[in-house]
């Protein structure tokens, strides 16, 4: 009974948030495009819907704020008033207020925001926008309409004058406690819902076919399916392994041939299943990108910079966990670009650049990776400044700075506690720096690259695996144990003669195609005993790329590539121990997956001291 009400409220919160998320970017579009009836209509409708449902549920502050926003949008839509920047500011403020009000309902903290100041602001903004004459006209029109309604109402006996809305709201409010008692309880998951990614296209299709093609499913159910699919993948890997071994021993046996055929079929179906389940968790990155136009606008306005924002590939689909975790890093990067990267108009003109700064955010799939780029045409990252700063902060020594490559210097900005501006502005100086970018991206098994050129601009490129559950892994053997490392970070594997390894100032190095790369021994890193015959004159090398650091790792044996399902190990902190998780291989052994990002951090932290 009370549950029914809870469910309705939860549903309302989810939908209201979606509505706001949908209309938020439209404001910015409106501001850039100017008057556009479709956009205005869409925003008006969103506010209107929100107000309607909130009214039923007795959320009066939402009704009040939405009502006034709706009135403003309506007047703009109908051409009665012009959309001005102050008016837009008030509307955007209202959207923020609505979001806040809704979030209070979501967490049920019982906090009642005082919206009276905002309501006054809305009213005065509307008043200022409406010239006296227009108001006068409107009054006359309203009076005429009212008269007409009355006249008609008397003709049509069935229609009576609408009752004032005030008492009804109260009625709805008191009903809140009683109403659900009569209603049949409907079971609906309400913890967390995800909208199927093909929302738009599905809606298109439903227009034609008139079928409800969308289904809201509890995320935990999808994750359960995902988990089970993972188990099937593991079983399939084992089956494939057994079948191929049988095939070696009993080749030509029709039964074994049958088995091979069946496992081959199972192999295909399992891959399809895995992909299908994976897709269920995918959502367009629009969900994240959607808030950027507004953010960029606000930042630009606050700083007095003129900025053009372009967004591409917002329909690129990424895993739900990416949607949840990539927002913060991107916000930091974009803030950084606007705050530190883009110059003021006069400075730009002096450099012969267009006065308006440009930021391009894009997402696309590249093989099994999702690439997200933030490109600005600002002044680029000044390596000298970065170097100085890092030395001043004690992050590196003067001596080290001389040996560092440009790449390494750029990467200093990701160190905790680094900020290139003397005085951090309100935007960038919030206690969290670019190190958040690296940490969050690493959590998603991805990496960040920075490409920067003086006065041309900077590119921040984030590369992420398509899914977090399955990993293309390189299986290696160190000591007696087999380990897996993410294939995406292995650039190449080679066999070298031990004599090729050189020693420079205590650091082992290897020259590969004229490039000198630091080399580490995996057995030493992992602290396991090397059991390979010391007399062997060769060793295997993995050339690793983590972020834009390149280094070599020597291992005892290379086993090969395998698609592994990551199982998290309860009770360990991957960030601490450098173990991403475990997996079960085709032959049934449990194999640890090494978190190379953590490992590399450890290696380079050690080497810089």
């Amino acid at each position: 009974m009370a549950d029914e009400m809870d469910e309705i409220i939860n549903e309302f919160v989810t939908e209201a948030e979606e509505t706001l998320e949908r209309i938020d970017p439209l404001f910015i579009e409106l501001e850039t495009k100017g008057y556009n009836k479709d956009l205005l209509n869409e925003i008006f409708r969103g506010m209107h819907t929100l107000k309607g449902a909130a009214g039923f549920l007795g959320f009066q502050p939402i009704v009040d704020v939405a009502h006034r926003s709706e009135s403003i949008m309506k007047k703009v839509r109908d051409g009665e008033i012009q959309m001005t920047t102050p008016l837009m500011d008030v509307i955007l403020k209202s959207v923020d207020a609505l979001r806040l009000l809704i979030s209070h309902i979501r967490v049920k903290d019982g906090v009642e925001e005082d919206v009276s100041a905002l309501l006054k602001e809305q009213d005065s903004a509307l008043e200022n926008a409406t010239t006296g004459q227009a108001a006068e006209k409107e009054k006359i029109a309203e009076a005429a309409l009212a008269a007409e309604v009355k006249e008609d109402a008397s003709k049509e006996a069935a229609i009576e004058k609408p009752a004032p809305v005030e008492p009804k709201v109260e009625a709805a409010e008191s009903e809140k406690t009683h109403a659900p008692e009569h209603a049949a309880a409907q079971q609906k998951p309400h913890v967390q819902t995800i909208t199927p990614p093909a929302d738009d296209t599905a809606q298109q299709a439903s227009k034609e076919k008139d079928v409800v093609a969308n289904l809201r499913v509890d995320v935990s159910r999808i994750d359960k399916v995902m988990d089970l699919a993972g188990e099937i993948v593991l079983a399939r890997n084992r089956l494939l392994n057994i079948a191929s071994r049988l095939d070696v021993v009993h080749s030509g046996d029709p039964l074994v041939e049958n088995l091979s055929e069946t496992t081959a079929f199972l192999d295909r179906v399992t891959s399809d299943l895995q992909l299908a389940v994976m897709k269920m968790r995918m959502q367009p990155i629009q969900k994240v990108f959607g808030k950027f136009p507004r953010m960029v606008r606000d930042l630009a306005r606050n700083l007095g910079k003129d900025i053009d924002l372009e967004i591409f590939g917002e329909d690129t689909e990424v895993d739900k966990s990416v949607i949840e975790n990539i927002g913060d890093p991107l916000v930091h990067i974009i803030r950084n670009s606007i705050d530190h990267g883009l110059e003021f108009s006069d400075e730009r003109v002096a450099k012969g650049k267009p006065p308006k700064g440009r930021i391009v955010i894009s997402a696309f799939q590249k093989g099994t990776l999702i690439v997200i780029e933030v490109v600005d045409d600002g002044k680029g990252i000044d390596l000298e400044v970065v170097k100085r700063k890092a030395i001043n902060r004690g992050l590196i020594t003067e001596e080290e700075s001389l040996k560092m490559s440009e790449d390494a210097i750029v990467n200093l900005i990701f160190l905790p506690g680094f900020s290139t501006k003397e005085v951090s502005t309100e935007l960038s100086g919030r206690g969290v720096g670019m190190d958040v970018v690296k940490t969050n991206v690493a959590k998603l098994n991805g990496y960040v690259e920075v490409i920067t050129k003086k006065d041309v601009g900077s590119t921040f490129r984030i590369s992420l695996p398509l899914t977090l559950a399955i990993l293309q892994a390189m299986m290696i053997k160190v000591g007696k144990e087999v380990y897996a490392v993410p294939q995406s970070m292995v650039e190449e594997t080679i066999r070298i003669k031990k004599e090729e390894i050189k020693d420079i100032a205590g650091q082992k190095v290897l020259t590969i195609r004229d490039r000198v790369l630091p080399m580490y021994d995996m057995a030493t890193v992992l602290g396991v005993k090397n059991v390979v015959d010391e007399g062997r004159d060769f060793t295997y090398i993995l050339v690793m790329v983590v972020g834009d650091r390149r280094f070599c790792i020597s291992v005892d044996e290379l086993i090969g590539q395998e698609e592994v399902v990551i199982k998290t190990i309860n009770g360990i902190d991957s960030d601490e121990c450098g173990i991403l998780g475990a997996t079960i291989t085709g032959d049934g052994t449990v194999v640890l997956i090494i978190d190379l990002a953590v490992m590399a951090r450890g290696l380079f932290a050690g080497s810089s001291k």
Binding site: I8, A158, I159
Partner: protein, 134 residues
Amino acid sequence: MFDLKLKVLVVDDFPTMRRIVKNLLKQLGFENIDEAEDGNMALNKMKSGNYGLVVSDWNMSNMEGIELLRSVRADDTLKETPFLMVTAEAEKEKVIEAIKAGVDNYIVKPFTAEILKEKLEKIADKRPSLKAGG
């Protein structure tokens, strides 16, 4: 009382609103309630099913309530279907448009089961099909 076996179609593009209206109808005793998320879908459903009452929102992204009403009234087999329009305060001035288009009655959001009942009773006075045994 109304014929509670009648099939009712609730049309609104906001799922929460559909659910609220459905709940209110259930409180009045209606059991057979169907939903549509816009005018187009409603029209298609009406053409293939026998609906005894339509409760439609005005403001919808895909075919507004008023258009749905006009289409219903223009269709020979559907034109006698009782039609209750759900409107918001802001649309009061447009109600006249709905009256001209042949709406049976309208109801302003937010409303209670009581008010809904009153409205339906008014419709039932004119449309016997809505009454129990009528």
